[in-house]
């Protein structure tokens, strides 16, 4: 298989993650193009096909971090707080006195193997539904695995602001998974 066709095979896959992380198609194209160019400059790495994908994702993550760094001001631009649904989600989850409105459902054993394509598709769809800023910082934390201090530094965010974004992202993701995967849709 030619180098070109091997790379073309992975293009869509890389774009999916670049889009999910960057939330900007043009930036995602840049990150993936730079990844493929970097790969082409080291053709000796094309031997093993399964390793190629892992290697490309590794390069992509570095390219994405570069772009996030260059675009830090745009990335950290806080979403409009009024429309982020936080108060609604809180009211949905809790009574005024601080009790749960309904018991959190049983998701089964936390150690269970969720390693299925369908599950990951739901997880990605839920992450994609987060507002852009929240989605970016959440993915920086959970996909790029950057330490909190580093995210703050790259985006010039205060730690407090970052924790708020991550907190909201986790609550929304939980709600989305509860409805769309664990199948216990809350009655509105």
């Amino acid at each position: 298989m030619s180098v070109e066709s091997q790379l073309a095979e992975h293009h869509a896959y890389l774009m999916r993650f670049a889009r999910l992380q960057l939330r900007n198609d043009a930036w995602a194209e840049d990150a993936v193009s730079e990844t493929l160019l970097a790969a082409l400059s080291k053709p000796q790495s094309f031997g093993n096909r399964s390793q190629l994908k892992t290697w490309l994702v590794g390069i992509l993550k570095h390219k994405i971090i570069d772009i996030l760094r260059q675009r830090s001001r745009e990335v950290a631009l806080a979403d409009d707080d009024s429309g982020d649904g936080q108060a609604e989600l809180d009211a949905l989850m809790f009574e005024k006195d601080g009790h749960f409105t309904s018991q959190p459902s049983d998701w089964g054993n936390p150690e269970q193997d969720l390693n299925s394509r369908q599950f990951f598709e739901v997880l990605e769809a839920c992450a994609d539904k987060l507002p852009p800023t929240m989605g970016r910082v959440f993915l920086m934390r959970e996909w790029l695995e950057l330490p909190v201090e580093e995210i703050c530094k790259e985006l010039q965010l205060t730690a407090t602001n970052l924790y708020v974004q991550l907190h909201r992202a986790r609550l929304r993701l939980r709600e989305c998974l509860e409805i769309n995967w664990f199948g216990n849709a809350r009655t509105p």
């Binding site: 993650f17 009790h99 959190p104 089964g108 969720l114």
Partner: protein, 64 residues
């Protein structure tokens, strides 16, 4: 011991927060006490653990 009392809303907030930062001792103690006495929050805690586990598996899957 009012200082150690937490509502479910507060306990859930601590369970989410500890995914990203270490909690102060007082909060950790109060959270453990709440979890011992509450039926709902241990479920929420297991949901958080499931999410952590699921995200780790997803991360590995993206690289394969």
């Amino acid at each position: 011991m009012r200082i150690l009392r937490r509502t479910c809303r507060e306990a859930a907030a601590l369970l989410v927060a500890q995914e990203d930062r270490a909690l102060p001792w007082a909060d950790r103690v109060a959270l453990r006490l709440h979890l011992l006495a509450c039926k709902a929050c241990p479920r929420f805690e297991r949901q958080m653990l499931t999410m952590r586990n699921a995200t780790r598996q997803w991360r590995n899957y993206t690289g394969d």
